[in-house]
Amino acid sequence: MPNLSRSEKASKWINVILPMSLAGGLALIGILARTINTLGTNEVLTAAVADYTHRFAVGFERIFLEAVPFLLLGALAASVVEHYFSTAEVEKIFSKRLIPGIAAGLLTGVILPVGEGGSILLARALLRKGAALPSMVVMMLAAPALNVLPLAILLGSGGVSAVFWLRIGIGAVFAIIFGILLSFENQPERLIHGNSLHRHGSGIAQFKEAVSGNNQNRSKAVAVTTAKEFLEFTPYVIVAALIAAILQTILPVSWIPPVQGGLAGQIGSSGLWALLSSQSNLGDILTVQNSAISWPVVSQAVFLTLGIMLDAKLVVLYLRVLSRKAVFYMTVLAIGTAVLTGLVIGIQGMR
C-alpha cells in the first residue's frame, strides 16, 4: 500500500472516514431510537428519546431542505455567469467604482432569484470573473433581505408585520455599510478566499472558447457546472446543519424563543436561536407567523434581523468566498446590529 502524504491522509479522513463514521453512527442512533419507540416499556425514557431524536432530525433537515432550493438556483446562476459572461462584461457591470458597484450589487441581489445561500455561489462566480469585492459583498448580504422570490412568496402567504419591513431596511443598510467598509481595503484580494480570486486565462475560459458557437455543448456545460457547484457547496451546508442541529438539541427548551422574560433574555434567546436554527429568510418569517405562542416584538426584531444577516450555515458558506478576517468582522457587525435593534425597540417599548 503506497504511503500517503499528510494532506492526502487529512483529505481521506475528512472526505471518507468522517462522513462514513457519522452516517454509521447516526444510522445506529436512528435504528435504536425507533426500536425504543416501538418496544420501550419505560415511558419517561421513550418520551425523552422520541423528543431528542425528533428535535435533532427536524433541526437538521429543516436547515438542509430550506437551503437546497436556493443553492441550486445559485449554482445555476453561477454556471450561467461562468459560461455566458466575459471578464470584461462582469468588470464593467460590477465596477470597482464604489457607488455604481454597490448599486449593481444591490440590484442583482433584488432581481436574481438566488436568495440566501445561492447568492454566495453567484458572488464567487462573479469574483472569479473580476467583479469588485464591495459590489459582491453587497449582493451577498442584500439578497436574503431584498430578493424578489422570497418577497413574493411571503407577500402571497398572508401578510407580513411591520417588523418584516424593518428587517428589510436593516438588511439593506447593513449590506451597503459593510460593502463600503470593505472598499477601504487597499488589497481586497486579502479579504477573498483563495478559491474565489480572479484568475486570468483560466481553464474554464479556454474550454468556453473551444465550445463557443455550439449552443448544445454550451448548455450541457452549464448543466455540468451547475451540478458541480451545487455538489461542492452542499456538503458544507450539511456540516453546518449537523453542528447547528446538535446544538439545537442540547439547548434547554426554556431558551428557545419566544421567551417572555426581560429584555436581555429575549434578545439572547432569539439571537441564539436565529444563529442555530439557520433557517432561510422565508423560514424565519414563517416561524414567527406560524408560532402558536405570540412572539414579543423585541424577540421578533432580533430573530428576523439577525436571521437574514447571519447564521451557522451562512458563516460556513461565507468562508468559501471571504477570508476568515472578513467573516469575523461581518459576524461581529451583524450581531451588534441585531442587539442594537432589539435594545432600541425594547427601550422604546418601555417608555
Binding site: 487529512a10 472526505n15 462522513p19 431542505l65 483563495g194 478559491n195 481553464g203 474550454f207 457546472t225 455538489l231
Partner: protein, 103 residues
Amino acid sequence: MENKAPLKFSALALAILGLSLLQWLWDGKVADYTHPQLIFLLFPVGLICIILAQVLLSAAGKDRKTSSPPLTDAGEDLDRAPGKMDLGLLWLALPLVIGFLFP
C-alpha cells in the same frame, strides 16, 4: 486513460438526492421538517437533481467516446488554490440517513 468515476459518482449522488426528495414529498415526510409554504420549492429541486444526474452521465459517456473538449471542467479544477480541500460527496449520505432512519 481519464478516470470518470468521480463524474459518475456525482451523477449517482444527485440521482439519489433527487429521488429521496421526491420520495419524502410523496409520503408527506417533508411536512414534518419544513414549513408548508416552502414544500413546493422541493419538487422542482428533486426533478432538477435527476435531470442533472442524467446530464452528468451522458457527459461522462461523451467524454469517453469523442475527442471533443471535456464537459467536466477539468481545467477549472486546476485553477483551485493548492492545499485547499473541498468536502467529499459522502457527506450527502447524512441527510438521507437522518431522513430515512430517524423517527
